[in-house]
């Protein structure tokens, strides 16, 4: 029997949405959406094996070959630059990376700009291109609090609707990059499981085209 294609999906709403795209493309495994403590879900008939992992870890599973393919946000790919093939923009989980701050924020360019973020590499690269001197404050959550409490001047974070920002008297004022979910593949798995990966890729591409 052919080896199963190992697929890492991000836990949470995005992962469930993406799983439905895989299922609609003919790679279903209904058990994967059941509320159970199981970690790995197989459907040998469809040739797939799914597992749910923390969204920021998907790229690690794929890069190191524990998963053949996976779905990961463009923000994670930009931040960690894992050595994987980025095969398809799934056009779902659409949001953007943006710089935001207090509504009355004014950038005093004579000062070092303090930027709170979960994405230090993206932040460094963004401001390097602008030749702006910055002080990166790496946080792991509740980034919006930083400018409110004076910990930073601005934040660089994921913005979906901007509702949380506006409710806290903050606003996004520069888009750094658009973000959406991407199908990624391990470089070696691509060579040895090319046919299986191609089938998934074309099935998902049809799903993406259908939504257009």
């Amino acid at each position: 029997m052919a080896e199963l294609l190992q697929i890492a999906l991000p836990k949470g709403r995005l992962g469930e949405k993406v799983y439905r795209m895989f299922a609609a493309a003919g790679f279903e495994c209904p058990e994967a959406l059941e509320d159970t403590r199981k970690l790995i879900f197989e459907n040998p008939a469809a040739g797939v094996c799914y597992f749910w992992v923390k969204p920021s870890d998907v790229a690690i599973y794929v890069e190191r070959g524990a998963a053949d393919i996976g779905v990961v946000g463009k923000d994670v790919l930009m931040e960690y630059r894992p050595e994987v093939f980025e095969l398809l923009d799934l056009k779902t989980g659409v949001c953007r990376l943006a710089v935001a701050g207090k509504k009355d924020f004014r950038d005093y360019t004579g000062h070092t700009l303090r930027v709170a973020t979960k994405f230090p590499n993206i932040t460094m690269e963004y401001y390097r291109q602008k030749c702006r001197d910055i002080d990166i404050i790496k946080l792991n959550g509740s980034i919006e609090l930083a400018p409110i409490l004076g910990l930073s001047d601005v934040i660089l974070d994921i913005v979906e609707t901007g509702k949380t920002l506006y409710e806290n008297n903050l606003e996004p004022f520069e888009t750094v990059a658009p973000v959406s979910a991407r199908l990624v593949a391990n470089c070696a798995a691509y060579q040895f499981k090319y046919q299986a990966i191609s089938r998934v890729l074309s099935g998902l591409r049809e799903q993406v085209e259908a939504v257009k």
Binding site: E63, R64, G65, E83, V84, F85, E86, L87, L88, D89, A185, N186, C187, A188, A189, Y190, Q191, F192, Y194
Partner: protein, 371 residues
Amino acid sequence: MESDNAIRRGEEGILSRLRELYRMYGYACFKMSKFEEYDLYGQNKEFLVSDSVITFTDTNGKLMALKPDVTLSIVKNTVDVPGLVQRLYYNENVYRISDRTHQYKEILQAGLECIGDLGAYNLCEVLRLAARSLAVIAEESVLTVSHLGVISALTADLKPGADRMALLRCIQGKNPHGVRELCTQYGVPEGEAGLLVALTSAYGEAETVLPALRAAVPADLPQAASLTAALGELEATVALCGGIPGVRVCVDLSLTGDMNYYNGLIFRGYVKGIPASVLSGGQYDRLMAKMGKRSRAVGFAVYLDLLERLEKEGDFDVDVLLISEPDTPASLVADRVEALVEQGLRVAVQSSVPERLRYRRVETLTGKEGG
């Protein structure tokens, strides 16, 4: 007892078989010092896999580096001899930051360089040796091959200020949406961007992929001649590299390298069971020119540190666990150990059974038994 295969697959077994292979094709061993003057790397940072180098000051005040790369040292010591080809192979440790762990690592690397007045045969020879090296390492492998002339022709006229490296990253990452987006930003005409995506998305065995790629190049395209020449050279080289058992040779034009150094043929090798490429190589005439040499050059490296994942642990650590009691005479233990080793069995002497040791059988020696 361990199987022959397991032994052959071990790092040392692979190294000795690679050495043997390279010698058979007339390659001579190049042994070098662990250190090199830092300047060599400072001037050629982009050629290195990682630009972080471990440095120290020598007793005479010179800034030295632990070698992060072997090719630069070989090229530095090469002398141009018109009409001749130098063939060198090496097994050396290099020191650099691992892409995966972001920590410095000592990496055992084997490889070869073919330098001089190279012709079509030399390119075939090196590519064939790359394929044969993969066959030494594993029973199933893939050698992906590309020609930088294709990407070079289609990305020659980017807008001033365009980030060529970003475009190459998208191409190498098989990211068609990213390639299209950047081509639009960098002023690449729509037709050429489409062709770039089509050519770099193709993947498969040469005999099926290359004719389709050649047919995809419009005859009236300004770059048609250079694209056809690159694809032709690739086809001629790859045609002579097939037929090695267990090695699939695939064309994948998304393979790239820094075009300030590399040109022409470029390739990468994968073996089943290892999640990253274990072999990487190509033609680097531009590096030669940059270092003031007229010779052409092609070579590759095999990353042996990755191969430990191929080694299968045997079912047992030893064949016989010999329990010797405190009063057992040492001569008795020694005689029994020698007798078992003579039979080709692996023996471990202990005074009690270790918790995690895996053994086929236990023998107990006591002073009273007298053997």
